[in-house]
């Protein structure tokens, strides 16, 4: 009645090699993990502020805890596989049929539960700490972050100024941020300074951050928000208090020489144009305006044209009629939102950037 498969022992060498390969791969991957802390500008492992440090209090703890658990559990698994791949048979030809062990079940429920308690306590403490901007370092700087498809607008309600895609902050000062969205859900994330918080239409969320060192910190929208999501990047420019004050002063008293050109610059900022079109030649969601006027551009359909008043007007009112090669058809139409005079002012400003 008892039927046996023959040849169970064949290929034992192959099995041995296999388990060695598995072990090798696992160890290699572990080593890679430990050496992976690069210097990427959006790395979550680099902490440059109080909020990021506070997160690291549990983040770092979890790295150690999970590494230990990983080694123990995987180690037990592979030890079991290697040890019992050729166990001596019992008299009846079958291993002893152990059906379970209640003590063991209790042990491997209680010990992980204790480990979790050690993670849960700091977790809850840090959730509380991150939920309110600390006030012990003096009055926080208030910034309203407003999400747009596909750029971030930064309003400083107490200073009466705003900027697009670059948030200027002084170092060592807590920044108390309120988050709103103008269209769909976005998420504000500057990994080296703080974890992400969503910007949700119809709601106001809050978060805070602080930069301990001067520098440019890179951030990116972390919630899928449509076609231009990948391009929705921004910076936090942390400056000394003096430099920051100088920037504020300059923004409050713009030195631009009035006229149509200056009016165009104001419009470009308030309409959000500069969220996507840079004015310094750097890359953006849309083509940069520096040197654009009078320049010959090629479109996605292969045709080309010189950028003149007519083309800019068309691009404002029917932006996706002609899309410059290398860019996506993302721009909303401004039909009905701008007057002819506004368009003329913007054209004058763009023209000035090619002089």
């Amino acid at each position: 009645m008892v039927r046996r498969l023959s040849g169970r022992r064949s290929g034992s060498g192959q099995r041995k090699n296999l388990s060695r390969v598995l072990l090798f791969v696992t160890l290699t991957m572990m080593t890679l993990l430990l050496t992976a802390c690069g210097d990427a500008p959006q790395s979550t492992l680099i902490r440059k502020g109080a909020a990021a440090e506070r997160i690291w209090d549990v983040y770092g703890l979890l790295w150690i805890g999970t590494a230990v658990v990983f080694l123990l559990v995987e180690g037990l698994l592979f030890y079991t596989v290697i040890r019992f791949r050729r166990a001596p048979k019992t008299a009846h030809g079958r291993p002893v049929p152990v059906h379970g062990n209640t003590k063991l079940e209790i042990v491997w429920t209680v010990i992980p539960a204790l480990v979790l308690v050690f993670i849960a306590i700091p977790t809850v403490q840090i959730i509380a700490d991150l939920s309110e901007a600390p006030t012990h370092q003096g009055d926080p700087l208030k910034v309203d972050v407003i999400g747009h498809q596909f750029f971030f607008e930064f309003d400083y309600p107490e200073l009466g100024i705003k900027s697009t895609n670059t948030m200027y902050i002084p170092t060592g000062t807590v920044v108390d941020i309120s988050l709103q969205s103008n269209d769909v859900i976005h998420s504000f994330w500057v990994p080296q300074l703080q974890g992400k918080t969503d910007l949700i239409p119809g709601r106001t969320n809050r978060m805070w951050l602080e930069a301990s060192e001067e520098g440019t910190y890179h951030g990116q929208c972390a919630e899928f928000c449509g076609l231009g999501h990948a391009l929705m990047r921004f910076q936090v420019e942390a400056q000394s208090q003096a430099d920051f004050d100088a920037w504020v002063d300059q923004q409050q008293n713009p030195s631009t020489g009035g006229g149509e050109e200056g009016q165009g610059q104001q419009l470009a900022s308030s309409l959000g144009c500069t969220g996507c079109h840079t004015v310094d030649g750097s890359a953006g969601v849309g083509p940069t305006w520096q040197g654009l006027y009078g320049h010959n551009v090629t479109f996605t359909d292969g045709s080309s044209a010189t950028v003149d008043d007519a083309y800019i007007t068309e691009s404002i009112l029917d932006p996706n009629a002609k899309v410059v090669e290398g860019f996506q058809p993302l721009m909303p139409s401004f039909e009905g939102r701008v007057t002819d005079a506004d368009i003329q002012a913007i054209i004058a400003y763009i023209k000035s950037l090619s002089e």
Binding site: M1, T44, F70, F84, V98, K196, T197, F224, L330
Partner: protein, 647 residues
């Protein structure tokens, strides 16, 4: 109709299956089939097809991401690719592949001749087929769904997604939900009512237990998705404002409705694999499952806790510190029953005599990879950490370790383990082992570095990135690693096709297994069991083969009679087996429902047409006798044993 003689000699001494019976053949017999085994095979083939479709979508994304500022596909195409990759893999690959094994195995494992509602079972498959077509129609009509598999409101509102892309998703998912619900009700009733004599609930094979739990989860979780998609459908088609903030709607309402479904969905995808592991590891360790009750009850605990953790997908939406803390703690709690399972599987192997055949390798691969996915899951159970990891590639790595390293490794092992039973052929063991090795390596090449990318701040769902991010190196590595993974699936396909044509004939019990499906020929006759078996232990076939080790006496239960034979030797085959009639009506009903849904996009008249077709199907279904009558008996239902030779 042609018939086929299926007499096969029995492999297990005490089991008699010598009847020469016949089952219908030909394409029509497959279209009208209500046989759970054929439906299971149809599920399996469809899920493998969509696994490859989802794989191709992933491959195109990896080409795009292999270099910074790449322009291989446009932003819109990329968005369609990741939306459809996720939707396809979840709803059309992993879930149907699990359903394939539910269908094929549950009646066999519990000693039944079919599921409780065979025509409903056929209906489930046809709805799945039509729903999957609707979901993919967008590719051919100007744009597939492009708002992500979780379709966050209000990006999905008409104002921000004016095309039909999201409509295909809404309609497709509603149709697919019908299929999942029908299958689940069927499985619950089958498992509760149709177990063989002696198979108490705590003697059920663990896979059947996990099927039952999964089915209950589907029944409880899918209504939330249905409510969400119905609201979304109303917003898009009839200008309601459930999710439109300007009109007082709430985008967050969608997230709650979606994740109340979406988190249990994770367990819907992993619990079947837990069941598979709990079947295969004991067989290849030659030891019964360690801590059977602990494995079952931890599965139940996971299912219950799974409904209390949904908001951990929403730690960054600003819920406030109290709800955030509560959901963090419930999420951490769910690690406990999961850990219990891992330790029980490991201790099943401990002291065993391991037979490292390919199905077992996939199980060991499953456990080792699932541990990684589980551990990274504990990391972002902590909300401060989640604020850094959520929506980054770290999370992409995490859930691929759970759903690919977990579910798919389990399901691939299941395909190998049950292939001889389903096809009657053995596969090539060397190729299967090579498949495992390359899949294991390729999987880790592709998904392990995604952890690093996430830690370096790379968000999900970006179609491009610039050089200055520092992500280029690992992205190229991942894209190259995909070739190893693709190669492993080529080995799989070659092995399966070769074995189907020229594989060695499979014996009834090639692995020395413990469950009832291995007591009947491979492939099983269409009526499954000539006698309904009697079960006295959790390991009926081992009790049969090794009465000294697994006899009922060994459990110390004196009240049970000492009986080792699941098929008592002196019993005649059942004189009349009530096998259900083939039916075309499930297909007609499924087709009508699908046409009705499509009417929303085409014309109200089409809705009426679809309703009429569905009514015809339903009407025919109701009037058709469920069990073969005298007339059809000769043609379709020749179940009377023609010959019976005692052995």
């Amino acid at each position: 109709m042609a018939t086929r003689a299926i007499a096969r000699p029995s492999q297990v001494g005490a089991v008699k299956h010598d009847e020469t019976l016949s089952e219908p053949r030909g394409l029509w017999s497959w279209i009208t089939t209500i046989d759970h085994k054929r439906i299971g095979i149809m599920y399996l083939l469809l899920s493998i097809f969509y696994l490859f479709v989802g794989g191709i979508e992933a491959g195109l994304m990896r080409v795009q991401l292999s270099h910074p500022d790449n322009t291989f596909v446009s932003a819109d195409t990329f968005n369609q690719l990741f939306t459809m990759h996720g939707t396809t893999m979840i709803f059309l690959a992993v879930m149907p592949m699990s359903a394939a094994f539910f269908n094929y195995l549950v009646p066999l494992m519990i000693g039944a001749r079919d599921v409780a509602f065979p025509r409903l079972n056929a209906f489930s498959w046809w709805v799945l087929l039509f729903g999957s077509i609707v979901l993919n129609l967008g590719w051919f009509t100007g744009g597939a769904p492009n708002a992500g598999w979780f379709n966050y409101a209000n990006l999905t509102s008409s104002a921000f997604s004016p095309g039909h892309n999201v409509d295909w998703w809404v309609l497709g998912i509603q149709i697919l939900g019908l299929s999942s619900l029908a299958t689940s009700f069927n499985m619950i009733v089958t498992i509760i009512n149709m177990r063989a004599p002696g198979m108490g609930l705590m003697r059920m094979p663990p896979f059947v237990w996990m099927t039952l739990i999964t089915a209950v989860l589907i029944v409880m979780a899918f209504p939330s998705l249905t409510v969400g998609t119905t609201f979304l459908m109303f917003d898009r088609f009839f200008d309601t404002n459930f999710f439109v903030p300007e009109a007082g709607g709430s985008p967050l309402l969608w997230q709650h409705l979606f994740w109340v479904f979406g988190h249990p969905e994770v367990y819907i995808m992993i619990l079947p694999a837990f069941g598979i592991v709990s079947e295969i590891i004991p067989v290849f360790s030659r030891k019964p499952l360690f801590g059977y009750s602990a494995v079952i009850f931890s599965g139940i605990a996971i299912a219950i806790l799974g409904f209390g953790v949904w908001a951990h997908h929403m730690f960054t939406v600003g819920m406030g510190p109290v709800p955030t803390s509560v959901f963090a703690l419930t999420t951490m709690l769910i690690a406990l029953p999961t850990g219990v399972k891992i330790f029980n599987w490991t201790f099943t192997m401990w002291g065993g005599h391991l037979n490292l055949k390919s199905p077992m390798l996939f199980m060991i691969g499953f456990i080792s990879m699932f541990i990684i996915g589980g551990i990274s899951g504990v990391m972002h159970a902590s909300p401060p950490v989640d604020m850094q990891q959520q929506d980054s590639y770290f999370v992409v790595a995490h859930f691929h370790y759970v759903l690919f390293g977990g579910s798919l490794f389990g399901l691939m092992g299941a395909i190998y383990y049950w292939f001889p039973k389903m096809s009657g052929r053995m596969f090539h063991e060397g190729l299967a082992k090579a498949h495992f090795v390359f899949m294991f390596l390729g999987f880790n090449f592709v998904f392990m570095p995604m952890h690093w990318l996430g830690l370096e701040g790379m968000p999900r769902r970006i179609y491009t990135y610039s050089e200055d991010t520092g992500w280029a190196g690992w992205n190229l590595f991942i894209s190259l690693g995909l070739f190893v993974l693709v190669f492993s699936f080529i080995l799989f396909t070659v092995n399966m096709l070769m074995s189907l044509v020229a594989g060695e004939k499979a014996p009834s019990d090639p692995w020395d297994s413990d469950t009832l499906e291995w007591s009947i020929p491979s492939p099983p006759p269409f009526y499954n069991f000539a006698h309904i078996p009697t079960v006295t232990t959790r390991v009926p076939l081992w009790t049969e083969k090794y009465p000294d080790v697994y006899g009922t006496g060994a459990h110390g239960s004196d009240s049970e009679p000492e009986m080792h034979n699941i098929y008592p030797a002196d019993e005649e085959p059942d004189a009349s087996m009530h096998m259900p009639n083939p039916s075309i009506h499930p297909l007609i009903l499924a087709f009508g429902i699908t046409i009705g849904f499509l009417g929303l996009l085409i014309h109200p008249g089409v809705i009426v047409l679809g309703g009429a077709i569905a009514f015809i199907g339903l009407f025919g279904w109701v009037l058709q006798p469920a069990v073969g009558d005298g007339e059809s008996h000769d043609e379709h239902d020749p179940v009377e044993p023609v010959a019976h030779t005692a052995r």
